[in-house]
């Protein structure tokens, strides 16, 4: 077992015993949000980190997942699990549509396309009041439950069970990311990132792989949205907020894009940072903006990479 694996396992162990050590509901709340964002970050990492396509519209998939899941639960009264699966499918379909619409676009054009799509979805969410209740939002979105027959009902409405639910999904997606990245798909993604024309010329059907990565990415983001909706029990069109898309990008970049643990670290950092910044009061978002600039310009390989460098340099001298 090499060092990487040991550390990953230690992370896992730490996450498993976290609720036992930290009983404070505020820290559980933060942990759940980190988990949801970790899923989002993993999903964007596949697209941005491994395939090299920046998207500023990931909130679209997140939001669609949240709404689909909630609407199925509220209107059709079906178990939450089915709603989550529907969310996965719906965002996957949206991903397919996005990929098809933008397959010719790269760089700035693709980014603007993603922003445009998210804005349209937000406006639909705001105005299709009959379906989404517009700015009033959807309330009383219940948490998932499992009926264990004679043993009673496992209600995920409490923080601790919900935390473990999210943790298991994060582990699952992490594993999925790992398998995908080490497979031939992963190699195709990376070759597209490095030099798309070259990849095309050696016979890699870039279009096909882009569609696949966008669909997988979208589906995971949709699940994250669904988990969010059933946790907060209230959603409104703010799930399509530009800030969410930007924050997820920061997680991927700040955590270290194109690495396995990167999105996890990024999720931890960028879920907590906006909270820590509350000490700055009104200047909160100004400081956040400065962080975005500093990280994007000076730390494109992730915060920890540079922190490590710094510490290594100190050691050498």
């Amino acid at each position: 077992m090499n060092r990487d694996r040991i550390i990953t396992l230690l992370f896992l162990l730490g996450s498993l015993i976290y609720p036992i050590l930290m009983r404070d509901p505020y820290y559980m709340h933060m942990a759940i949000l980190i988990g949801i964002y970790a899923l989002l970050a993993i999903s964007l990492n596949l697209l941005l980190g491994y395939t090299g396509q920046l998207s500023l519209g990931h909130a679209a998939f997140f939001g669609v997942g949240a709404y689909v899941s909630s609407l199925f639960y509220l209107n059709l009264k079906i178990p939450v699990w089915i709603g989550m699966v529907m969310a996965l499918i719906a965002s996957g379909i949206l991903g397919y549509i996005v990929a098809k619409l933008s397959f010719k676009l790269r760089g700035a054009y693709f980014v603007i396309m993603t922003i445009g799509i998210t804005e349209v979805l937000k406006l639909v969410g705001l105005n299709w009041v009959d379906l989404t209740k517009g700015p009033m939002g959807l309330t009383d979105i219940g948490a998932p439950t499992i009926h264990l027959g004679g043993l009673g009902t496992l209600d995920f409405g409490d923080k601790i069970p919900y935390y473990y639910l999210i943790l298991s999904l994060v582990v699952l997606c992490f594993y999925l990311q790992y398998r995908l990245v080490s497979s031939s798909y992963g190699r195709a993604f990376i070759s597209i990132r490095e030099n798309e024309d070259l990849a095309e010329s050696v016979g890699i059907n870039c279009y096909k792989y882009l569609v696949i990565v966008v669909m997988v990415s979208a589906s995971i983001a949709g699940v994250a949205g669904s988990l969010y909706a059933h946790y907060v029990s209230f959603i409104d069109p703010s799930v399509f907020a530009f800030f969410i898309s930007v924050n997820v990008v920061m997680m991927v970049i700040g955590g270290g894009q194109g690495t396995l643990m990167g999105p996890i670290i990024g999720a931890i950092l960028f879920t907590l940072i906006p909270e820590w910044l509350r000490v700055f009061g009104d200047a909160r978002m100004a400081v956040y903006a400065v962080m975005v600039i500093v990280i994007v310009i000076f730390m494109p390989r992730g915060i920890l990479f540079y922190v490590t460098q710094l510490l290594n340099l100190r050691k050498k001298t």
């Binding site: 445009g116 990008v249 009104d282």
Partner: protein, 289 residues
């Protein structure tokens, strides 16, 4: 009849859109920079007008010029200090930094001027002129004329002046222009400052019509991007046409369909253009992506 009124209403907003659009398309086309902070220059233009005119009591038209000059100054510093070092970086890095700056400027503005919405009382009369049952608001008519005037000025700048020629050369072929001895750095700075000045002028024109608050740049930004893409990167005519078109379509859409979806019209047009004709209505194939 109401149709014509809608069209007239749309043209006035369209004029402002066109102004913001030209500034962005110039910067986009000549420098290849995706300036997400463009909308904030618009916002600063309005705020500086507020400070000079409403707070300091300087003459309205002088205040407008001062406001535009102030924002151009800020733009110049911004270009030299931030955009220049980023020139060699990937387009993603530049975009994200611009978004960061946009957020930063918004929040600094909020801290300086407070989030309380402000109003600028322009010297123009409030009541509209009527002509055959149609209403023409003086302030808005001025916006259309000012917009056309500035467009004309910029056009003359590009076509008739030496530096304008250099800008066009840079736009067409960066390497060749550089080889011909054109100082690219200077052209870039100049272009950016002009572009920012146009956005600021849109801000001074629209500021008195609408309220001024730190977040007015957001919508301006998004509309500007939609217009630039729809019109075609780097195309002047495109930005102007798209600007007026968008204004009119939004007005008609709000009038006949629903005012809620008004803002969606721009994005939907944007998406359609991106799918079927990514280079835009007037864009040329083979331009720098």
């Amino acid at each position: 009849m109401i149709f014509v009124q809608y069209v007239i209403n749309g043209l006035t907003i369209g004029g402002a859109y066109a102004l913001i659009g030209i500034g962005l398309t110039m910067v986009f086309g000549i420098m290849g920079v995706v300036n997400f902070a463009h909308g904030e220059m618009y916002m600063l233009g309005a705020y500086f007008l507020f400070t000079f005119f409403t707070k300091m009591g300087i003459n309205f038209y002088l205040s407008m010029l001062l406001a535009i000059a102030a924002v151009m100054g800020i733009g110049g510093i911004y270009e030299k200090a931030i955009l220049k070092p980023l020139r060699r970086r990937s387009i993603e890095t530049v975009m994200l930094s611009m978004i960061g700056f946009s957020l930063f400027i918004q929040n600094i503005a909020m801290l300086i001027w407070t989030p309380v919405p402000e109003s600028i009382t322009s010297p123009f009369p409030l009541t509209a002129y009527t002509l055959g049952g149609l209403y023409f608001l003086p302030q808005r008519i001025m916006v259309i004329f000012a917009a056309l005037f500035l467009v004309l000025l910029t056009h003359l700048l590009l076509k008739k002046t030496k530096i304008g020629k250099a800008m066009r050369a840079t736009f067409q072929d960066l390497e060749a222009a550089s080889l011909m001895g054109i100082k690219i750095d200077r052209i870039y700075s100049f272009t950016f400052v002009i572009g920012v000045g146009l956005a600021a002028s849109a801000g001074t024109l629209l500021g008195p019509i609408f309220t001024v608050h730190p977040y007015i740049g957001n919508l301006a930004n998004l509309k500007a991007f939609a217009i630039v893409i729809i019109g075609g990167l780097g195309s002047f005519t495109g930005a102007i046409t798209a600007g007026f078109l968008l204004g009119v379509f939004e007005s008609l859409g709000a009038g006949y369909v629903s005012s809620g979806y008004q803002d969606a019209i721009g994005f939907i047009l944007l998406i359609i253009i991106l799918i079927y004709r990514p280079t835009g209505l007037f864009g040329k194939i083979g331009q720098r992506r």
